[in-house]
């Protein structure tokens, strides 16, 4: 059963890896990004159902990232 595509936006590589692996264990297809630029690249190529975004990213907030993603892919 397809559990949907998830996007993890997290600048800490270890946490990103662990979240990804945990969610994959639950059967999700997980994509990862460390910044808003990478996140926008992913959503340009993949249909994402849910995005899990860290609040504190390098030089930007999770809200900024979500706003950018929504403006590109409403």
């Amino acid at each position: 059963m397809d559990k949907g595509n998830l996007l993890i936006v997290e600048d800490d590589p270890l946490q990103r890896k662990l979240i990804k692996e945990n969610l994959e264990q639950e059967g999700h297809s997980v994509f990862e990004a460390s910044s808003s630029r990478e996140a926008l690249e992913v959503i340009a190529e993949q249909p994402i159902d849910i995005a899990v975004v860290d609040y504190k990213l390098n030089g930007e907030t999770g809200i900024d990232v979500i706003q950018k993603m929504l403006s590109q892919n409403p």
Binding site: D12, L14, Q15, L18, I19, E21, N22, Q25, K56
Partner: protein
Amino acid sequence: MVIFFVLSSINRTYIKNKVEGLVREQLQATAEILKVNISHFLSEDYPSEEIFDLYSGEENIYYMALLDEKKEILGWSSRFEGYLPLSQKNFEKGESWIIDSPAGKIFNIFSSFSTTDQGTYYIYLGYSLGSLEEMIAHSRKSLFIMFGIIAGVGIIFFLGIYQLQNHYLRKEKEAEEERREKERYREISAFTSGVAHEIKNPLNSLALLFELFEKKVPQEFHEEISLGRREVRRISRIIDRFSDSIKPLNPKKELFILKDLMEDIIVSLEKERDSADVNLKYSEESRVSLSADKELLSACQRRKGSTSSILFSPEKRKAWESGST
């Protein structure tokens, strides 16, 4: 105050001079009348002693003398310690002068006149200026009373200003101290929340790692992994509490239903609690609406609930029963 004193003194001197001038004019006029009267009595051949008796009742005439053309005294009367303060030197002083006496200032007039038979006489009059002295003394007393009142009011005014200034400076110092304290607290808060964030990141990683292990390793290791997860959660909660306690307080009043808040807290605590044996319940007799800082109350109640759930956990109960706590 000094200006008042100087102005008042100038004013008093001016009034004194003016009054002395008026008295001088008045006495000269009196002397002229006396001269006419005495001249008349002398023309009528009245003895000079009798003439003095006529005027001895005049209260303000302190002494009086009649002199002939050679300035020899023909007759005199005096209330000035029984003598006449007249000497040859006085003739050079002019028609009028003032002397000091134990009875105060005395205005003197030495003036000549002629009778109808062409005889030349001199009259010497001493007129008491006691009333003027009294007036000056009264004026001086009034000045000192006024000076005292103004000085008193001035002192009260300056004391008031001093108190106000002191109060203002104290308040300003307190406000400055408070501002500095807040600034220091804000810096500590920012530093500690940064430290807490730095600790929470690897803790999250550990929590995720334990979660992953739980999914990947065989069932026999699950209990140990669960213990590890619980410890990580405990450290995380301690850090959260520490972060909350160090956050600067900025209470905001809002109206809310207490039961809604308490139920939210219980749901949140049930997720966090280590033991399912501890049950948290909230009940009230009637619905309570509160106007308070919701977040602050929530933090307090959450801490209370969390502490209670630790205290009443089966491990703690066992420890109490065995007497090791």
